[in-house]
């Protein structure tokens, strides 16, 4: 008996001491041709990490995002890739759970050059210490200015607070809201809603408007109480920074209670599926969306190219501005940074990060509003937005009102 025991211990000790286990080969600093490469880049491939939510609360959006990403990179690889290298995606589901995300990151971090997409600001917050240490870039699938300034994070377009300032400006110029009026703001607790509220408060302060706040959590989907509160406060318009289920309820109940005022939403407040709900009529009458992601009805090269490719690859799918189109645009930004890094002959993580911060005037063909400027990590790459009206006939259910634009207030706004 005890002989077996000592055998076990001896084997264990031997294993422990004889170790020359992992480590040592970190793959960094190698060179392929005359181009410097590091983790995530080899002679013939570049690997990007993707951390969407495919099984949690944002799973539908996450799956839509992966469609957009696959669409872009498949086409890119068919045309020879970047720098003569094929782009590989290392995708791990986070389930919108920070613990899963951190573990997934630890798993992929040695093999990727950067993160092509991370969904969720709490997940991004949880990952940031490691991302910073590893010195890679992170394409943040969210638009909150609270994450700025940050060397590692790239946002596609402008932030929620700027969207809200533009929404107020739109209401004042197009919808007859004037000084002294009251407007309601329905928003989510957390980064998205509270960031938008910052913007609406700033604009309201400037123009002597009164904001009636209604804060909700994503679990609340019946907006009866909120509509009543807005009615009592006699609001002339409603700003909306929540999700599509709340949008359907808000528009439907407001119409039923004869609260006939314009509703202006941030980008995440819209999905084309809303047009299949009973609230479709109410939405078409009063609902507007302000976002730096293009409405799918926009007539520009980038958007048309995306729609054509999308319909070919996913004939049964539904393209969406802040799902597949966003990930498509995010891939385009990563592509630009990698291409630039290749020109600089430096495909290390630092090389890519430097290349990203040298991008100025990046044109996505209208997919993201305006020309993107990533040189200042303290600013979003653009302050332009698209304003669109819900329409049953337009692709994606949104008909753009004019070109990319921004209000003077938004230009002057400091984070």
């Amino acid at each position: 008996m005890s002989r077996r025991l000592f055998g076990t211990v001896a084997v264990a000790l031997a294993l422990a001491v004889a170790a020359c286990g992992k480590g040592s080969d970190d793959g960094g600093g190698a060179s392929g041709g005359d181009i410097k490469t590091g983790p995530g880049a080899t002679k013939d491939a570049i690997t990007l990490g993707y951390l969407p939510d495919l099984s949690g609360v944002f799973a539908p959006n996450g799956k839509s995002m992966m469609e957009g990403a696959n669409l872009y990179w498949d086409a890119k690889n068919k045309n020879g890739g970047i720098c003569g290298r094929q782009i590989k995606l290392s995708t791990q589901d986070t389930g919108y759970d920070p613990q899963k995300a951190v573990a997934a990151y630890q798993q992929m971090s040695g093999d990727v050059i950067g993160l092509g997409l991370v969904l969720g600001s709490s997940i991004t917050s949880a990952l940031l210490p490691s991302v910073k240490q590893d010195g890679m870039f992170l394409n943040f699938a969210g638009w909150t200015s609270d994450i700025l300034p940050n060397e590692n994070v790239a946002i596609a377009g402008t932030t929620y607070d700027i969207e809200a300032i533009n929404a107020v400006d739109f209401l004042m110029h197009e919808k007859g809201i004037k000084e002294g009026d009251t407007i309601g703001h329905l928003y989510f607790e957390g980064d998205y809603g509270e960031n938008a509220l910052k913007g609406s408060k700033y604009a309201a302060d400037k123009h002597g408007l009164k904001i009636v706040e209604q804060k909700i959590t994503p679990a609340e989907t019946d907006m009866t109480g909120q509509v009543s509160a807005f009615r009592r406060a006699k609001v002339k318009a409603i700003l909306f920074s929540a999700a599509p289920p709340q949008a359907a309820s808000l528009a439907g109940i407001a119409a039923a209670q004869k609260l006939d005022v314009p509703i202006v939403a941030n980008g995440p407040g819209w999905t084309p599926q809303l047009l299949t709900t009973p609230a479709a009529g109410a939405l078409a009458a009063n609902y507007y969306v302000v976002s730096s992601m293009a409405p799918l009805g926009l007539d520009t090269d980038g958007v048309k190219k995306f729609l054509d490719a999308y319909e070919q690859k996913y004939p049964k799918g539904t393209p969406s501005s802040n799902g597949s189109l966003y990930a498509y645009a995010g891939a385009e930004i990563a592509d630009a940074a990698l291409t630039k890094a290749c020109e600089n002959k430096d495909l290390t993580r630092k090389g890519v990060l430097d290349a990203l911060h040298s991008l100025d005037g990046l044109d996505t063909g209208g997919v993201v509003a305006g020309k993107l400027n990533f040189t200042d990590p303290a600013q979003p790459p653009s302050r332009l937005v698209y304003i669109a009206k819900v329409s049953k006939d337009a692709p994606g259910g949104l008909e753009p009102l004019g070109d990319a634009q921004t209000a003077a207030d938004a230009e002057a706004y400091a984070f």
Binding site: G23, L54, S55, E67, P98, Q99, V102, D146, D191
Partner: protein, 358 residues
């Protein structure tokens, strides 16, 4: 001889576990650290639910108190920055303080625990999780709100459990960074938690708690102060949760409110049910199973047959791990009501029984 054997086995396992950071990739270390944090907290819950018979759905709240308590007590004040405040205590004191804080929270809740029983206590404690989430989201001066708060690395006698100080620590050719160093802290804390838990269950107070669970009047007749013991069970369980929270926070490096929601409470209940309620070893095994399963399945999603690549549609690794998780609970409830611990007991006993019958 059997005592010597046991001691030797424990030593062998300890040496093996201590050697693991030399071999394991950072993914496994990270998963292991999360599992160790869960082991400690799950032992606390099994003491409360399995031994003392008080159902709690509020365990995630006490874990959060430990995690945020540590980050607040140990956090350094950064002048000028609008980062959440911290008291800047030495990390060892902060760890003890966080555990004490969680214990205090448990003690404060115990009068309610003394009044309601069974499923009603479960619902009452559930309220704690939602109150906790509200506080974590809104007390931004301490918790950082939805952005979370960075966790000060653990330090003891000038040795930091992070990537620096001492910088470039290398053992047997393997660089020892934050995860490798934390591994040992986790091992020590988990070992102490298991040792203390096992002793508690077998001691006089442990038997008193079991007596309260099985019949309060009978226990009172035997001279057990029922109210005091019920309160003590809640306090000790919360302290375990707090310690688990501290280790989880250290493993994360930055904590956000989403990590401490209602689902975490449910996960802990599943851990102790799978492990066998009331068994310390079972809770530890259940914690490792429930924590590691989704992460490991995700890890191998590329090489497992029949599972779809993430993003391609079809049943992916994360959906699959949910199925396994659900199936495991159903299987345990159907075939092994006393959980993994009961299975182990039966496996141990059966040869002897067979011998005696022969």
């Amino acid at each position: 001889v059997s005592r010597l054997l046991r001691g030797g086995l424990v030593a062998g396992v300890a040496v093996l576990l201590a050697a693991l950071p030399i071999y394991l990739e950072s993914f496994w270390l990270q998963t292991g650290l999360f599992a160790m944090g869960a082991v400690i907290a799950a032992i606390g819950l099994t003491l409360l639910v399995g031994v003392a018979g008080q159902l709690s759905l509020g365990h995630a709240f006490f874990v959060a108190v430990g995690a945020y308590g540590y980050s607040y007590l140990a956090g350094q004040e950064v002048p000028g920055a609008d980062a959440p405040a911290g008291l800047g205590l030495p990390p060892v004191l902060a760890l003890l303080g966080a555990v004490a804080l969680a214990g205090l929270a448990g003690a404060l809740f115990s009068p309610i625990a003394g009044r309601v029983r069974g499923i009603y206590l479960g619902l009452a404690s559930l309220g704690l999780v939602f109150i906790g989430q509200h506080i974590l989201q809104n007390a931004t001066g301490i918790t950082g709100g939805y952005e979370g708060v960075a966790v000060e690395p653990f330090r003891v006698f000038g040795f930091s459990f992070s990537n620096t100080d001492p910088d470039d620590l290398t053992i047997l050719g393997v660089p020892y960074g934050q995860l490798e160093r934390l591994w040992y802290l986790g091992l020590v804390l988990a070992a102490v938690a298991i040792w203390y838990g096992r002793n508690l269950v077998r001691s006089r107070p442990g038997r008193a708690l079991a007596a309260v669970r099985d019949g309060e009047i009978a226990a009172a007749v035997m001279g057990v102060d029922v109210v005091r013991y019920r309160a003590a069970a809640f306090t000790v369980s919360s302290m375990y949760a707090g310690l688990g929270g501290v280790l989880t926070a250290l493993a994360f490096g930055r904590i956000v409110p989403e990590s401490f929601g209602f689902l975490l409470s449910v996960d802990y209940l599943v851990m102790i049910v799978i492990g066998g309620a009331g068994s310390v070893g079972g809770a530890a095994a259940g914690a490792v199973f429930v924590t590691a399963l989704p992460l490991v399945l995700n890890h191998y999603s590329g090489s497992l047959p029949l599972l779809a690549e993430p993003g391609s549609g079809g049943v992916g690794a994360s959906e699959f791990s949910r199925f396994v998780y659900g199936a495991a609970i159903v299987a345990v409830l159907l075939f092994a009501r006393d959980g993994l611990a009961g299975l182990a007991r039966r496996a141990r006993r059966s040869p002897e029984v067979k011998e005696r019958l022969a």
